[in-house]
């Protein structure tokens, strides 16, 4: 019983995000009138998985108490790289996938090195590297374009054996191969510990530097997965500053909706995935409810603001205000 309670208190916010998504999705399907067809499910999944990957990427630095304002730009940069290298014979495509993922890792490693060894504040360091990554993306693709191997693209964007959207399979695979082992590892535990209290983590003998560096590297890797999928969906690439910025901001919102504390130390990437799907379903819902197009951004904004304000409930219930004012430094 106690174990269940602990589990619930740890994962309550993520479960809430899941419930929110499921109810929104049900309303969407019912209201849509065409039922849950495979095509519809795939379209919803494809849109959601892109943001889910970027949101997972954002989660890990946030867990350490940092932030990565360059995830959106890494996403755009890897999109541009993917559109240049993912074509030709199969072996070249395979090498291309590795190249794209590696470039994501390198971007993340630069962020991590600046934060860990350069001792820069994550917010300002990743702000600056984001500009650099955007510049690189623009160097590769001054104008939108590029191409991707057609077989790979259709394999990635359709259904897996006609049962499940392939993107969902990829998302689950990424969770199982990247997130779960990371969360269970010493390094992953270290990230949570740093987010709770860096001093205590250091005193306990946790490899603070290695954990933090890994967090940013994994963020780059996950964003690169997103970049490949985006290339498969759009069949091209576009070095768009607003595109990257929007993804960065949405990823932060998804992380918060998914129950990860921006102060670090609590939450997880699974919640962020649900948060991303919630965000993506909002616009679909507005569409099926025939909301005037001009009203949509406003309502979307209000819902976003409301969703991130959910954390305020604890403030209204708190017996003592002091606990929200932060400790003396």
């Amino acid at each position: 019983m106690n174990g269940l309670r602990l589990w619930l208190s740890r994962n309550g916010r993520a479960l809430f995000a899941l419930a929110l998504f499921l109810s929104m999705f049900c309303i969407y399907v019912i209201k849509n009138g065409v039922g849950l067809k495979m095509g519809l499910a795939t379209a919803v999944a494809n849109k959601g998985v892109l943001l889910a990957l970027v949101a997972m990427a954002q989660t890990i630095p946030v867990l350490t108490g940092g932030i990565d304002l360059s995830v959106g730009m890494i996403f755009v940069l890897t999109n541009c790289i993917a559109s240049a290298v993912l074509s030709g014979p199969p072996w070249m495509v395979a090498v291309g996938v590795v190249v794209v993922l590696l470039s994501g890792v390198v971007c993340g490693a630069i962020n991590g090195a600046l934060v860990v060894y350069g001792r820069l504040q994550p917010i300002i360091a990743t702000l600056a590297t984001g500009a650099v990554y955007y510049g690189l993306a623009l160097t590769i693709r001054p104008v939108p374009g590029g191409s991707i191997d057609a077989t790979l693209a259709s394999a990635l964007t359709n259904q897996f054996f006609g049962i499940v959207p392939t993107t969902l399979v990829i998302l689950v695979a990424v969770v199982l191969v990247v997130w779960v082992p990371f969360q269970l590892s010493m390094t992953g535990r270290g990230c949570y510990a740093i987010g709770s209290s860096e001093m205590a983590a250091y005193m306990t003998g946790i490899a603070v530097r290695r954990s933090r560096l890994t967090a940013y590297v994994l963020a780059g890797l996950l964003a690169a997965f997103g970049g490949i999928l985006l290339t498969a969906m759009t069949l091209s690439s576009d070095a768009s500053v607003s595109g990257g910025g929007t993804y960065t901001l949405s990823s932060i919102a998804a992380v918060v909706i998914g129950g990860t504390s921006l102060m670090g130390g609590a939450g997880g990437a699974i919640g962020s995935i649900f948060g991303a799907f919630v965000l993506r379903t909002v616009s679909d819902l507005l569409f099926v409810f025939d909301i005037q197009p001009l009203m949509q951004p406003f309502i979307q904004g209000l819902i976003l603001l409301g969703a991130v304000s959910l954390g305020a409930i604890r403030v209204l219930r708190a017996p003592n205000r002091l606990q929200f004012l932060g400790a003396a430094r």
Partner: protein
């Protein structure tokens, strides 16, 4: 005492040093010594960013941040021109105050969310940015509102008084207000105290909620003011006109030596940061470097300058 002075002065000195180097580099490239006119032009362009950064700096000093700047700048520009065009008559003169009220109201909402709901400002102001964007789209999407800049805005943003651009004078006035507020009033003391430790400040009997709200209102008003001036400078207001101001403003404040964690920083530093960013952008565009390389250089410069003087303390032990 001497240590305190050193900590304050070093980033400012380094920033001004970088400015001088950049101006010299630019003039070597042009084979022409920098003229007073050129420097004044740089200051004029910098003044819009400077006014945005003035408000942002107050929130950063508190350990918060205002990410709603892009659309508050936009709503400032649109409100100032639309009020004049819709209602005409005396509203032409009231366009600017109307913009300030709009910006202040958004800031008030930000402040209430951060101070009372205790939502991290990074998230709440981000949400407000989306809401304000929605409001702008709702009111301007279907029917294009009047977007012509009024003569007053144009006079403020483009004209000169005794050779000095009016925009620079406006920025200087905003700057004097901020400096007086920060260093000559209790409010300023409370801002630095709250930034250092809100808990201790609150326990000392200070209404930290009011301080937070005041800072966000000031930030909103500053952004809207800059937006109105920008509309005057460009001749019209347009959607997303504030987008290129958020990141440079954050960079300017932080390069000027204000700690992103709050509690320390000087206005002189912010001025240095703003001029530095503006001169950097100007030199890069004068050299006709393509946008892609410009972004890379821009980002790298910020990293390098931060590595020179913006580093955190080495972990102890």
């Amino acid at each position: 005492m001497t240590r305190g002075l050193k900590a304050v002065d070093r980033p400012v000195l380094v920033a001004f040093g970088f400015i001088v180097v950049l101006i010299i580099l630019g003039s070597i490239y042009n084979r022409h010594p920098p003229s007073v006119l050129y420097l004044l032009q740089q200051l004029q362009v910098a003044s819009f960013l400077g006014i945005v950064a003035s408000g942002l700096m107050l929130t950063i000093l508190l350990g918060q941040i205002d990410l709603s700047i892009p659309w508050v700048v936009t709503i400032g520009g649109i409100a100032a021109t639309a009020a004049a065009g819709w209602w005409g008559g005396s509203w032409t003169a009231l366009g600017l105050p109307f913009a300030l009220v709009c910006g202040g109201l958004v800031g008030l909402a930000n402040g209430l969310g951060v101070a009372f709901l205790r939502i991290p400002s990074m998230v709440f102001t981000l949400g407000m940015n989306a809401v304000v964007q929605g409001i702008v789209v709702m009111y301007t999407g279907g029917n294009a509102p009047p977007d012509r800049a009024t003569p007053i805005l144009q006079w403020l943003a483009v004209r000169n008084t005794f050779q000095v651009p009016n925009a620079v004078i406006v920025w200087a006035m905003v700057g004097v207000l901020v400096v007086v507020a920060l260093h000559r009033t209790p409010f300023g003391r409370y801002v630095y105290a709250t930034g250092n430790s809100e808990r201790v400040t609150y326990l000392s009997g200070i209404n930290t909620r009011a301080i937070l709200i005041a800072a966000f209102v000031a930030s909103g008003a500053c952004s809207a003011f800059a937006g109105a001036l920008l509309a005057g400078y460009a001749g019209k207001a347009y959607q997303a006109m504030g987008d290129p101001y958020l990141l440079p403003a954050i960079a300017a404040v932080v390069l000027g030596g204000t700690s992103i964690l709050g509690g320390s920083g000087t206005y002189l530093g912010t001025v240095a940061g703003v001029i530095l960013i503006t001169v950097l952008e100007s030199v890069l565009s004068v050299m006709q470097i393509p946008e892609s390389t410009r972004q890379i250089v821009y980002g790298t410069m910020i990293v390098v300058m931060m590595l020179v003087y913006g580093r955190g303390r080495k972990p102890e032990g």
